[in-house]
């Protein structure tokens, strides 16, 4: 546990020193203020538009951690052999991975928390500019739930980044695979639904159905964590759903990290 904590803190510190992070946060805050201004072009659903943009920005900001920083901090850690300075200490491979994952999680949490303040500010700003009557549907409970679920989906992507980094030998490939997993994770649920309904009446070959079925079980259902629209309209997100998804995310991450450890233990760090 101590080893995990030490590694987590070290990578958290390392991540904080990456200037990219500050660029991302700045860009995100700019985007949110842009959203407030743009929302003025809409007719009725102003709070919805502001929330659409600002919640998406929080997610995008969080995503920079698994999609860019994680690769820098993991795949390159292995590529450049900085990992030696950790693994030549009494730290197991599993502890190393779990520590890195937690460091990334801390970073993600910090970035998303910071940007969540931006959500609050842009709503206040919009209310000041356009008047209260366009903001009656705003529900803070739903916004919190949406932000938390978005954090969980980024957490899963962090685990995926760890997983791909241990499996591949190049940081470029790891980035590519993580981005790929992200897209599939959001795509697959819609595709499954499409196949179930099959409105077009086109016959779909069974091999495609099988591929989709495999993807459905091997990639996380990230779309389920996206309740941003629901929150933007101020509708209720049941607590039970949030709890269930929390468990799902926890189990999926544990699964990935276990698998990553199995692969990483067998790997020679020459």
């Amino acid at each position: 546990m101590r080893a995990v904590f030490s590694v987590a803190l070290l990578s958290f510190k390392e991540g904080l020193r990456q200037r990219v992070l500050y660029g991302v946060v700045l860009a995100a805050l700019l985007m949110m203020s842009g959203a407030v201004l743009v929302s003025g072009f809409f007719l009725r659903d102003i709070s919805k538009v502001i929330l659409d943009f600002s919640l998406a920005t929080v997610t995008l900001g969080g995503l920079t951690i698994p999609l860019f920083l994680a690769i820098h901090m993991l795949a390159r850690d292995i590529e450049r052999r900085t990992v030696f300075s950790l693994l030549s200490r009494p730290i197991s491979r599993g502890q190393y991975l779990f520590g890195k994952f937690n460091g990334l999680l801390l970073l993600t949490g910090l970035v998303m928390l910071f940007l969540s303040i931006g959500v609050y500010l842009s709503l206040e700003c919009g209310e000041f500019l356009f008047g209260e009557r366009f903001f009656v549907t705003v529900s803070w409970n739903s916004i919190f739930a949406a932000l938390f679920l978005s954090f969980l989906s980024v957490m899963i992507l962090n685990a995926l980044a760890v997983f791909w980094s241990t499996l591949t030998t190049s940081s470029f490939l790891a980035t590519l695979l993580t981005v790929f997993s992200y897209v599939i994770g959001h795509f697959v649920d819609d595709v499954v639904r499409f196949l179930q309904v099959n409105t077009t009446g086109v016959e779909i070959s069974s091999s495609i159905k099988q591929v989709v079925e495999i993807a459905k079980y091997s990639f996380p259902n990230l779309a389920a964590f996206d309740v941003k629209s629901v929150a933007a309209h101020g509708m209720v997100i049941p607590l039970a759903d949030v709890v269930f998804l929390t468990f799902y995310a926890g189990i999926y991450c544990s699964l990935l990290l276990t698998l990553a450890t199995i692969f990483f233990r067998r790997r020679d760090l020459a």
Partner: protein, 284 residues
């Protein structure tokens, strides 16, 4: 020192050139944009929904901006969109409703633009029917449908029925039941339209988006005052007024109001009022 001066001069010249070019580039693009509309609506809903990942709401918002740009440019250039452009516009609204079913602006646009401007009543109604599924708590959706049936499609009973349904949703304005009754018995088209436009404008932030609507509002205001006078006349004398001047003579109407579209008022035997202008701008 001399070097940096040269660089500064060089920079200034380039900067000035940039300044001159910026507007030219902007205009260059205008040529292609000229009231065109994004073809994104041609993408099948299922593909669009899946590829929007977790940014469905944002994509819908962006599409709305494009659609509203299209309307705005047409207004500015005083041209009316071609039928196929309206079709693209409709497809776009349809995809928006697929991406974010609760997005109210889509349906407000469907009513304001598709029904009022493009006269695509069936398309507007099908979008609004979708809206009723996603916004069951919103009285405006059946109200809009009802209005379309009554005012544009002249299906009075059906229109009244939808307005009654709207009246049953909590939060609907108190004049709705009364209005539904009026629709059924008097056919007060102008009064209905007036209330409708007022509601549309009151709910929306951007009345300046459509100055056309404001003019129409003034026209309906005038027509509704004649209708109101006629209803008052019937209640007092238990017979229908012969013409508008009779309403003025008996004091129900202080003066014959002006039609902003420049037509002559006509009072029908059933009490409804219209104008020879049909509230349409005359072609010059």
């Amino acid at each position: 020192m001399k070097r940096s001066f040269t660089l500064l001069v060089f920079f200034s010249v380039l900067f000035a050139l940039m300044g001159v070019m910026t507007d030219k580039v902007h205009n260059l693009r205008t040529k292609y944009l000229a009231a065109s509309i994004s073809q994104i609506g041609r993408i099948p809903s299922s593909v669009l929904v899946a590829t929007s990942l977790e940014y469905k709401g944002v994509v819908a918002d962006m599409m709305f901006l494009n659609a509203s740009n299209f309307i705005g440019r047409n207004l500015m250039e005083r041209r009316s969109p071609q039928p196929e452009e309206w079709q693209t516009f409709y497809l776009m609204l349809d995809r928006m409703s697929a991406l974010d079913g609760r997005f109210l602006d889509t349906y407000v646009f469907a009513e304001m633009m598709l029904a009022w401007q493009a006269r695509m009543y069936d398309e507007a109604n099908s979008l609004l029917a979708k809206a009723r599924r996603y916004r069951p708590d919103d009285w405006r959706m059946p109200y809009y449908i009802g209005f379309n049936h009554f005012y544009f499609q002249k299906q009075y009973a059906l229109g009244a029925d939808y307005v009654m349904q709207a009246a049953n949703i909590s939060g609907s304005p108190s004049y709705l039941p009364n209005l539904a009754a009026r629709l059924a018995f008097y056919g007060s088209r102008s009064k209905t339209a007036l209330l409708f436009i007022k509601e549309l404008i009151a709910q929306n932030k951007q009345i300046e988006l459509n100055p056309e609507l404001e003019k129409r509002l003034a026209a309906f205001e005038a027509a509704a005052s004649i209708e109101d006078a006629a209803v008052g006349f019937i209640n007092r004398f238990d017979r229908r007024p012969v013409n508008i001047s009779e309403l003025v003579k008996t004091g129900f109407l202080s003066a014959v109001p002006l039609d902003p579209y420049g037509g002559e008022w006509r009072l029908y035997i059933d009490g409804h009022v219209d104008s020879t202008s049909n509230f349409v701008e005359r072609e010059k």
